[in-house]
């Protein structure tokens, strides 16, 4: 079946094949939503689960994500035309003082793989920039990455700044990065923590879907 094939090629990171198969599936009258969910997102979830178990490593996730983006290039205009909305919107960045973005980029790709729209503010982002972006783009999630034990307090600074700006209730704050722990997330009052990119995407999806119910 073509959707399974899309999933498999995506897992192998074959961007060209994914792109061609998405095109073909559309010609065969598969719904864009099924192509996204049962083809690409399904493939990305398998990669995510394998990453979590150390079965695949950073490069496999990156090339799979690259293949996903190739497929999305074809699919995105059609999804928009047919009124399919992303399941939510997230702002993502590394905190002030932190320049390490490989982890953040992985999380972003995983999010996109789950159908979450991502606005990437880049690295070394000051809380005021995040606040402006929230006001302008009204995201559901704010995702903060910190790789160093010395920069993780920057995640707390953002949460405090959100409170001061009266925006804390409008968004859910998710944090991650090598030195970050669940205990730290609770201590600084974040809404969630994930220990790897795949778990982060699952957590985000769960939060977004529950939010809709409310």
């Amino acid at each position: 079946m073509i959707l399974t094939e899309i999933s498999q090629y995506l897992q192998q990171g074959k961007a060209k094949d994914v792109k061609a198969l998405v095109q073909k599936a559309l010609e065969d009258h598969y719904s864009p939503q099924d192509i996204l969910n049962e083809g690409m997102i399904a493939g990305m979830q398998i990669i995510g689960a394998k990453f979590k178990k150390n079965e695949v490593f950073v490069p496999e996730v990156l090339i799979a994500a690259r293949a996903m983006n190739a497929g999305l290039e074809v699919l995105r205009p059609i999804l928009i035309d047919s009124g399919v909305k992303p399941i939510g919107k997230a702002i993502i960045c590394t905190v002030a003082g932190d320049l390490h973005d490989i982890g953040k980029n992985l999380v972003k790709m995983m999010f996109e793989g789950q159908g979450i729209e991502c606005l990437d503010l880049g690295v070394d982002v000051h809380p005021t920039v995040i606040i402006e972006a929230i006001k302008q783009h009204k995201p559901d999630l704010v995702c903060l990455s910190a790789l160093l034990a010395t920069t993780m307090m920057g995640q707390k600074d953002v949460i405090e700044a959100l409170k001061q700006a009266g925006l804390r209730e409008q968004v859910k704050v998710l944090i991650g990065g090598a030195p970050v722990t669940m205990a730290f997330a609770e201590e600084i009052g974040a809404d969630g923590y994930a220990m790897d990119a795949a778990s982060a995407a699952e957590l985000a999806k769960e939060i977004l879907l529950n939010k809709e119910k409310i």
Binding site: N54, E55, V56, F57, V58, P59, E60, L62, A96, G97, D98, L99, H100, D101, I102, V123, D124, L148, A149, T150, T151, G154, P179, T181, A183, F184
Partner: protein, 481 residues
């Protein structure tokens, strides 16, 4: 208040602490050495002590009752006397490593090193890497970290020279270690733009910091992440006098490197992570007693330890094991452990763990940690070469410094891709070049000027700002086919 009775091989001591105190914090305050690799966040699981007879993570233990704590206050101290000496004047050089301190006693009558000693850096209780140490300093523990380092330096000085005060004590170390030594807040070095409060050399009376030496000389650093240890290393290999293109790498936690190409100096720090020093590796150890330092396999599996029976694996052992797994096709090029029924060693692979002995093994996750570390090193080399616009082939020599480098098997290092294959015949292992460079300074104090020149000449490359670094990093994570 609660009573905490602390027992170890040397003594027994009872202290009173407020109820609700964290056990690791209490042990730190009383200058006990507990291996808290992750800095006390409950993740590395290495700070185990016996509490009332049960093994507990000290960082996760809150004191709510009177307790008896038992552990080996294992500082891995060692001393070697190299020759008899009865000089009237001595100088001492100490390299303050993040993991280990190394001391050298120099007889000024003949300029020879007559004794050496080494000791774990007791700041390990505050985390294995410089970033954890900076964090603890920024949270108010600078005075405590400063105190313990002064204490061990004095212990090492007395151990080397029991009945007199050395004329000069020459100190090298990474920039963060030197700041803590001077009781200077290193907080600004922990975040971009990574500014170091001081970099230049210092000379002061030992009394100033209660150090047991008449005069103390601190060697200069290059940047926040390229310290005086690297400067001393460059001095030791004669970098200033070098005519050809050469590369100097300290294979340790910070993975610093300096390239001299066409008479220009480029330096960087790859933050390879503490995998080479045994942290982040489940059964990892530094280059100390009980550490497996070499593994080879011809019909039978041969294991060498630094000394004693195998308890864990140090960096050189790790690369030997990974090279072996690659050769036996039990590890594919992506870094995945695979069951190869053809290999005689297949029975040692159980539940994604490869058992080197009955109790010492490496895990799939350890291999992933190693892949990140080796890719950081190779990618750092590539970025420096790009900066200098030269190719790997135009390097005449690669000097490998560091304790791990000392035991490293060159063939294994190439096989696992820690160093590019083009460098195979150019590798020269120089040991603790930081300590040895400091010994040179101890013999000729005017060399401090040469150190200043090195520190000034090196152009620092910040890998975080080099977009090509990320690409190289991804490209080099796998093992070569």
């Amino acid at each position: 208040m609660r009573k905490v009775t602390i027992k170890n091989q040397n003594n027994e001591k009872t202290i009173l602490v407020p109820e609700g105190s964290n056990l690791l914090s209490v042990l730190r305050e009383h200058a006990y050495v507990v291996n808290a690799t992750c800095g006390g966040s409950g993740r590395c699981k290495k700070c185990v002590v016996n509490v009332n007879g049960d093994p507990k993570l000290s960082c996760q233990t809150i004191i709510t009752e009177d307790i008896v704590v038992e552990f080996a206050d294992d500082r891995r101290a060692s001393k070697q006397i190299l020759m008899d000496s009865s000089a009237t004047h001595y100088r001492i050089a100490i390299d303050i490593g993040t993991t280990t301190l190394a001391g050298y006693l120099i007889d000024l009558d003949n300029g020879k090193v007559v004794a050496t000693n080494s000791l774990y850096n007791p700041q390990i209780s505050y985390g294995a890497d410089v970033i954890s140490r900076i964090k603890h300093c920024s949270l108010g523990s600078l005075p405590a970290l400063h105190r313990v380092i002064i204490k061990v330096i004095n212990e090492m000085v007395t151990d080397l020279l029991p009945n007199q005060r050395p004329e000069h004590l020459i100190l090298s170390g990474n920039t963060v270690m030197l700041h803590i030594l001077m009781n200077e807040d290193p907080t600004s070095m922990g975040r971009s733009p990574y500014i170091a409060p001081f970099l230049s050399s210092k000379e002061f009376s030992g009394d100033l910091l209660k150090i047991n030496a008449k005069k103390v000389i601190l060697l200069p650093s290059i940047s926040s992440f390229i310290g005086a240890d690297i400067v001393a290393g460059c001095l030791y290999i004669g970098l200033l006098q070098e005519k050809k293109n050469v590369l100097f790498i300290d294979l340790g936690t910070n993975g610093e490197m300096v390239l001299k190409a066409n008479d220009t100096y480029y330096g960087t720090s790859t933050a390879a992570g503490p995998a080479f020093e045994g942290a982040n590796i489940e059964k990892g150890l530094g280059g100390v007693k009980g550490a497996i330092s070499a593994v080879s396999y011809e019909k039978t599996l041969m294991i060498e330890t630094i000394s004693g029976t195998p308890e864990g694996i140090c960096g050189s052992g790790l690369i030997d094991i990974i090279a072996l797994l690659r050769r036996e096709q039990m590890l594919d090029e992506t870094g995945l452990l695979v069951t190869n029924q053809e290999s005689q060693l297949v029975h040692r692979l159980i539940d994604d763990k490869f058992y080197v002995t009955d109790t010492v093994y490496i895990t799939q996750k350890d291999i992933r940690e190693f892949q990140l570390a080796k890719s950081a090193i190779v990618s750092g080399i590539m970025v420096l070469l790009d900066q200098a616009q030269i190719e790997l082939s135009s390097l005449a020599q690669v000097y490998i410094a560091g304790g791990f480098g000392f035991h490293m098997n060159k063939k294994s290092a190439i096989a696992v891709g820690l160093l590019p294959v083009q460098l195979e015949d150019k590798i020269r292992i120089v040991g603790n070049s930081s300590g040895l460079g400091s010994v040179q300074v101890a013999n000729d104090l005017s060399l401090v000027g040469e150190c200043e020149t090195i520190a000034r000449e090196v152009i620092c490359i910040d890998l975080n700002k080099e977009t090509k670094f990320n690409q190289y990093f991804i490209d080099n994570i796998y093992f070569a086919l």
